[in-house]
Amino acid sequence: MSTPTQERTTGPRMDHELDHLRGVVPSPVRPAPPHLSLMVLGGAVLATLLLHLALGRSLVLSVVIGYLLYVVGVNVAYRLTAGARVATDHTMRALIYGAFVLAIIPLISLLWTVVENGGATALNPDFLQQTMNGVTGVHDKAYVEDGAPMVGGAYHAIIGTLIITGIAALISIPVGLFTAIYLVEYGGLNRLSRAIRFLVDVMTGIPSIVAGLFAFALFGVLFGVGTKNGVAGAVALSVLMIPTVVRNSEEMLRIVPNELREAALALGVPKWRTIAKVVLPTAASGLASGITLAIARVIGETAPLLVAVGFTRVLNVNPADGPMNNLALYAYYMFTRPLNPGYRDPSIERAWAAAVLLVICVIALNLLARLIAKFFAPKTGS
């Protein structure tokens, strides 16, 4: 192997043979001044402040421009001192950090809006205990003009949420769980299993409103066109819940080590008992966590219920008889069809209050799912 000789140069950067090969244009990496990025950041922050305070541009615009200045500045600064490769590295780092910040902003804005607009009302016991039965636009007008207390609440919606989601869970959990059991314990790789897995994937893609249309159509065929009631809504939600439960359960069951099953079978335990007494308990925390998340997913669904359940203002605890209300529907109707179009604020307040309750429910369920997964997981050896 013959390579050209080269003079050894001194300096912090090592001279390297690759740079001297014919046909290779090196892209060097040189040391950069320390804290260069911080200096550029300082400059960008100064520019932002200048734009906003001195030149009066809006805060949002100033921050955006400041950020862009930082990205460009970092690129140029490093390109001049340390080389193109280091410049690219820092630029991408700046963009990636920026993406994260960008995603947080809507979330913060949203949570803030929800709490600000609906927090007080949601905590009001009257709101939680009254329905909208008998409440009219006159009451709202009185509230706005005369300072009368706000009348009308979401009690019927809360109960409706519990009933409809409860029935949906009652349907989806057994079906989903047993399907997962079939896939993992009995079916393996046979044709039915492959078809089922494929179809479950298809099912996860069903738009929620289509699930509602399905339930509506099903009940229309079975019970007459236009049948809208709580059970229909629960069926629609089940169509959405089942694939989530199946997929999560399948994964949790798969994680259970085969050795456990084999040990039980070798002791003469029948297969069904092995599953029921060994596999399921081992996977229990993961299963419970997944089911909780599935419930969280459907508790806020509005579209399918719009279609399959209809609307009512009064409390209806019979899911088989006529429309019911639920928190999501309640929020939607209050927001888009205020009781008194001339005095919209009370209805909007009620809508946000319902939104607060929904968001609390959903966050609580998510936290619960995480806790279950963490604290009830079978203790593995370290």
Binding site: V29, L192, G205
Partner: protein
Amino acid sequence: MSETITRAPRRSGPARRVGDVVFSGTSRASALLILVILAGVAIFLTVEALPVFTSGSADITGGEGFFSYVWPLVAGTVIASIIAMVVATPIAVGIALFVSHYASRRIGQTIGFVVDLLAAVPSVVFGMWGMQVFAPKLVPFFGWLEDNLGFLPFFADGSATGRTLLTAALVLAVMILPIITSVSREVFVQTPRLHEEAALALGATKWEMIRTAVIPFGTPGVIGGTMLGLGRALGETMAVAIILSPGPFTWNLIGTGNKTIPSEIALNFPEAAGLRLSELIAAGLVLFALTLAVNLIARWIVDRRSEFSGAN
């Protein structure tokens, strides 16, 4: 002499216990139920939608037949969803990379939690926020677009309320961000350490390592996640229904007007009857076909690339 009693061999091995039969039967039945449900969705929707195809064109809303009724809806749905996907994907990939390769574990878990929160918020709440808070904030931006890019048909005439297709698309982007982020993150985190170290040992900067080892490994997953996000956006109803102020189709994205299939159904279903009902259900069927196609393509892409993806 020995007498051997021969027995006819059993068809299956050990005696079938009742428990086994019941258990395995229930499992199998549940699995079959999935088939039934899916078939049911297709069948029942088609049945209810049939009147649309048998009645005359003049009877359909708009007076010119189902196709001319539904294509503006499809256009609106697709445009909004594609914008959402295009906006959300780079940001989602950025966050996923941040969590998988730049942030410490603690911060990564916090971000994971935050992203889950975003995913958990019900769409009706997104719609309310979009209309009450986000849309008005966008109005000056629309004004800027109209002033500077108004020669493009997309930005011809800025709306004063902000309740436009572009607003809806941006809210959709926020809503589908979590699913793309979590799928991408899961895949980036699984990049084999060995390949990352190989890149670093060759003298790669951090970004070059990501470009060489992480992104090629994760690309099929990211594409799958993006398509999942697209599917979600296509089917998203409430946020769009609340934000949009409905009107006929227009290329002007920052003006009022435009509808999507889900929002059209949601807004009109409660009071619909007869043929109108069938129309809406038929539109729902079209939507279902659309999302089905997107999901199938997503699977195909992911499966096709997995041989060269290093998943082996």
